[in-house]
């Protein structure tokens, strides 16, 4: 084997461009999977470790406040094993010149969803100051022992910062339902002792937030509703709590990307390996036959050719494994600004080793498979195969002499050559289609997310400002403010949804509905006489139009039965909608929680009105939502880069394979008097044909792929609809076509170096 190995290494070096593509495919598939696994698995481990260590509650009950007795009763429910009752109030503060919103809570028993200080220590539940969440403190320049003055009911309370903390149920903290990505500087949370609440805020223990550990969410929901009736607001599970679910969902999203794209790369590696080895073997027919005639057996020769797979695939896979931590850390770093986790260590399972092994095995097998062409041939037959010209094949086009006879001889040859070589053409097509699909997906995913943001904040929400109301504001006061700003009232609560609703969903009651313009699948507006459900919920709960569903809203002990009048085609938020009239017809009172207005300027008097807790502008909401999209940008960019690489590698590989094979024909054409330009034109026409064919298939395929792909980003709060702008399609096309044509340039420079004499010499 010794000299065979030498031959192997020299062949690989001499044909390195061809092998490079195999190397790259093996490398990329292992790198992509392993790199992303390090991120998602690391995040998963960190989250698991964090939530276990802090005993994350399974459910959180929000209520208007409970008595000690009611708390006890909840604790004694059969499915509940542990609870921790807390009091949470919303305060404001003024930092760095702006108003900040701070949710202040008592620590409860600290047996569930334990809050930990940044150094890992538990918090002191009897502390006299306030613990602030890390990111809020940092972005506002606060640290241990600073003082902060918070306002509650317009009463200032001065507190010393006792330390910086993080809570496991707030790994992703937006601070307000009006925003979908974190605003660390504007929204924070803190913990004070029961005593501080009573002495400094002059409040009794309200027990309005109960952390629960239970064994059956739905059962507990029913029992609690029965127990506390109108005091019930909502029950959040780990799946519906944005603070937890977003982090967990992100793990799944990155995992989906890693699996999906690695599969594509592995498939292409197989293709590249097979065609490359196949070509090498074709070129080496004579060598193989010679070795056979010397007495090397077919088994040895097959083994020998499978070594190409082992060598090239093996190096690719190993380098992929070696480089992967860089990618893992890069993607991990992009997630840090969004989430609060105590650790950001990357972590791997053994799966990357299997993936690497799998890639190597696949490379070896496809090489072995490609090497079977000489199997069963006697050396004499193998020689003949190696020395005689390729079996000439006629193509379909020749049946149409009218067209065929008009084609110049040079092109006839290249057409025969291409159509006669289906694997090669298929490979070129797949390169263009695959590359285009990936680049389109890279652009399109961002487009789809941007489009979601534009749709929600601009087409569905068409107000300029949203004024959130404090919940004890009188109807007359609300009416007065509404009139002043020409506003429109909405009520946002939660509601359970039966059957199969899983957890409490946002329920919005619209007054007139002109500032929130939602449309059904059939482009209908929201009308009286029924309930509307957003598409994402309808899908997971299997709800169809005209079906009757049961709702149990917050602040109510009633169950209302309504027919589903339509499925709302909207990305976010995934909620339930009805008109004020429908609501009132069910005997419910309309208690607005916010006023929407088209006015951009809200009078200072209203802003200062205690009834208005906060004024949110659509513009802020929109730019905040964009941040969420930008956070994923590095991943989209990666997909695009990989897509472009893929196209170049496959097409270059292809060009270079056929170049070697045809150099003799090119030289012959040249000897016959064809100019180099004419020959180059042949390759350009050929390349253009494959590229345009690939483009024609690639655009619809790319869109289909995108539409599958964006759904992997769906969460229980947001679903995505595929959207790609014309500009993106154009850009993706230009990139891919340019990549495809750049390979012609590379061919051109090889054509220049083509040695007429050398390439015709040596073989009869």
């Amino acid at each position: 084997m010794r000299f065979l190995l030498k031959k192997l290494v020299r062949t690989v070096f001499k044909n390195w461009t061809q092998f490079f593509s195999v190397f790259l495919m093996a490398f990329l598939s292992v790198l992509f999977y392993t790199g992303l696994e390090g991120t998602w698995n690391g995040m998963k481990q960190n989250i698991n470790h964090y939530t276990t260590r802090t005993h994350l509650a399974t459910t959180t009950l929000q209520s208007t406040g409970l008595s000690e007795n009611e708390v006890k009763q909840i604790k004694n429910l059969p499915d509940v094993s542990k609870i921790s009752a807390q009091t949470e109030i919303n305060t404001t503060t003024h930092l760095k010149g702006s108003k900040r919103y701070l949710a202040v809570s008592t620590p409860g028993t600290q047996q569930l969803s334990k809050t930990l200080q940044t150094n890992g220590q538990r918090i002191n539940t009897k502390v006299s100051g306030i613990y602030l969440n890390e990111k809020f403190a940092q972005t506002n320049g606060l640290h241990k022992n600073s003082t902060v003055t918070v306002k509650f009911n317009n009463q200032p309370v001065k507190l010393k910062v006792a330390g910086l903390v993080n809570s496991p149920d707030k790994m992703y903290y937006t601070g307000s339902n009006d925003f979908i990505s974190p605003q660390n500087q504007n929204y924070g949370y803190g913990f004070i002792s029961d005593k501080t609440l009573m002495n400094k805020f002059k409040l009794p223990l309200l027990n309005n937030v109960i952390e629960i550990k239970d064994s059956n969410n739905q059962q507990v929901e029913k029992q609690i509703r029965k127990l506390i009736g109108k005091k019930y607001i909502a029950l959040q599970t780990q799946k519906s709590n944005v603070g937890i679910a977003t982090a967990v969902d992100r793990v799944g999203q990155i995992r989906n990307i890693s699996i999906l794209f690695s599969i594509i790369f592995i498939l292409l590696a197989v293709l590249a390996m097979y065609t490359t080895i196949r070509k090498i073997i074709d070129q080496q027919q004579r060598d193989m036959a010679t070795l056979q005639s010397l007495g090397y057996s077919n088994v040895i020769l097959s083994l020998y050719y499978s070594m190409y797979g082992l060598l090239v695939g093996g190096i690719g896979a190993l380098v992929g494994l070696a480089v992967a931590p860089l990618l893992s850390n890069f993607v991990m770093a992009s997630q840090k600004p969004m989430f609060s986790l105590p650790s950001w260590k990357i972590a791997y399972t053994v799966v990357p080793l299997y993936v690497a092994l799998g890639v190597i095995i696949i490379c070896v097998l496809s090489a072995l498979f490609a090497a079977q062409v000489n199997h069963g041939l006697t050396p004499a037959q193998a020689f003949r195969k190696g020395s005689t010209a390729k079996h000439g094949k006629r193509v379909l086009l020749e049946r149409f002499p009218a067209i065929w006879n008009k084609i110049p001889f040079g092109n006839r040859w290249s057409i025969r050559d291409n159509l006669g070589n289906k694997v090669q053409m298929l490979m070129g097509l797949i390169g263009v289609i695959g590359g285009l699909a990936l680049v389109m997906t890279g652009f399109g995913t961002k487009n789809s997310m941007d489009n979601q943001v534009d749709q929600t904040y601009g087409h569905e929400y068409v107000y300029a400002k949203k004024m959130n109301l404090s919940n004890n504001t009188s109807q007359s006061e609300i009416n007065r403010i509404t009139k002043q700003v020409h506003g429109e009232k909405i009520e946002s609560v939660y509601s359970s949804l039966q059957p199969k609703g899983e957890f409490d969903r946002p329920l919005t009651i619209l007054d007139s509905g002109s500032k929130i313009k939602l449309k059904t699948e059939n482009q209908q507006k929201i009308k009286n006489g029924g309930v509307y459900v957003a598409e994402g919920i309808a899908k997971t709960a299997h709800i169809k139009k005209n079906q009757t569903i049961r709702l149990q809203p917050s602040f109510s002990d009633k169950t209302i039965k309504l027919k589903v009048k339509g499925i709302i085609k909207s990305s976010a938020p995934q909620g339930i909608y009805m008109t004020k009239k429908t609501w009132q017809d069910q005997g419910m009172t309309f208690k607005p929680t916010a006023i929407l207005t088209s006015r951009h300027q809200i009078p200072q008097k209203i802003k200062n009105n205690l009834a208005v807790t906060q004024v949110v502008s659509l513009k802020e909401q929109k730019s905040n939502a964009k941040e969420m999209v930008n956070n994923l940008s590095s991943i989209f960019l990666m997909i695009q880069v990989f897509g472009i690489l893929l196209t170049i590698v496959i097409l270059y590989n292809l060009g270079s394979l056929s170049f070697t094979e045809r150099s003799r024909s090119y030289a012959t054409l040249e000897i016959l008097g064809f100019s180099r330009n004419q020959i180059r034109n042949l390759t350009i026409i050929e390349n253009l044909t494959i590229t345009s064919l690939g483009w024609l298939i690639g655009v619809p395929f790319g869109y289909w792929f995108l539409s599958r792909y964006v759904t992997t980003f769906n969460t229980s709060q947001i679903i995505y609809y595929p959207f790609i702008s014309t500009i993106s399609i154009a850009l993706a096309s230009i990139i891919v076509v340019a990549a495809a044509l750049s390979t012609v340039g590379m061919m051109g420079s090889r054509l220049k170096k083509l040695d007429m004499i050398a390439s015709t010499k040596g073989v009869e």
Partner: protein, 233 residues
């Protein structure tokens, strides 16, 4: 020692059948140079391939020291090629990305662990030891053919089969090649040279004339000439 009996070979190409060989019988003896002579397309290469276990006859038998080799498995044929036969081709068939030394060594190591010495010995014999680190494309045609002979001899074959070994070479170079081949016969080794050039005949111990796939005549020559004595025209 090597004999063909009633060997026929036909090729099927679609509906077209070519009868390349038709009932061919003859013997090859060691310590002899046998020349197979005939015009192009007469079936010489086909004969040689069958002798060398490179191809199987359609009918008839091939025996080596009374063992049938036409009925053997692929594995046994491979062993036969490995241990008994050495091949020299018209177009040398050197492996282009192995050096001269490696091209010979890849054959020598099949039979012998001490391939290094053997390789150098045969390169010395064909006068190319100095070029051992060159790649084939740096050699002339005659040099390449001498390497290919060294490669065949390095296995110490019992039968050296040469298909038009000088077909691509000029007269002077050809003489050098024939000299080496003629010297290669021994009491263990038979040399078989296929050619369409009748001028080669005088150097042979036995000449087998082939025409249209049949043996035309077999002439034994008790006193063959040296290569130098032949008038090469």
């Amino acid at each position: 020692m090597l004999s063909l009996k009633h060997v026929s070979k036909s090729y099927q190409n679609g509906s077209e059948v070519t009868h390349a060989l038709n009932d061919v019988s003859f013997d090859i003896e060691s310590n002899q140079v046998t020349v197979i002579l005939g015009p192009s397309g007469s079936g010489k290469s086909t004969t040689l391939n069958i002798l060398g276990g490179m191809d199987r006859p359609t009918s008839g038998t091939v025996t080596y020291n009374n063992n049938f080799i036409n009925t053997e498995s692929d594995k046994q044929l491979t062993d036969y090629r490995k241990e008994i036969v050495g091949f020299v081709f018209q177009f040398y068939n050197l492996i282009s990305n192995l050096t001269v030394f490696e091209n010979v060594a890849i054959s020598a190591q099949l039979e012998n662990k001490k391939y290094r010495n053997i390789t150098e010995k045969y390169l010395q014999k064909v006068g190319l030891l100095k070029r051992k680190n060159n790649f084939p494309d740096q050699l002339s045609g005659g040099e390449m053919q001498r390497v290919s002979i060294a490669r065949a001899l390095a296995k110490s074959p019992k039968v050296l089969l040469c298909d038009e070994p000088t077909g691509a070479l000029d007269t002077e170079t050809s003489k050098r090649v024939f000299e080496i081949l003629k010297k290669s016969k021994s009491k263990d080794t038979a040399v078989v040279i296929v050619t369409h050039n009748p001028l080669v005949a005088p150097i042979a111990d036995r000449v087998i004339h082939i025409k249209d796939g049949r043996v035309d005549k077999i002439i034994d020559n008790p006193s063959p000439l040296e290569v130098e004595e032949v008038d090469w025209g």
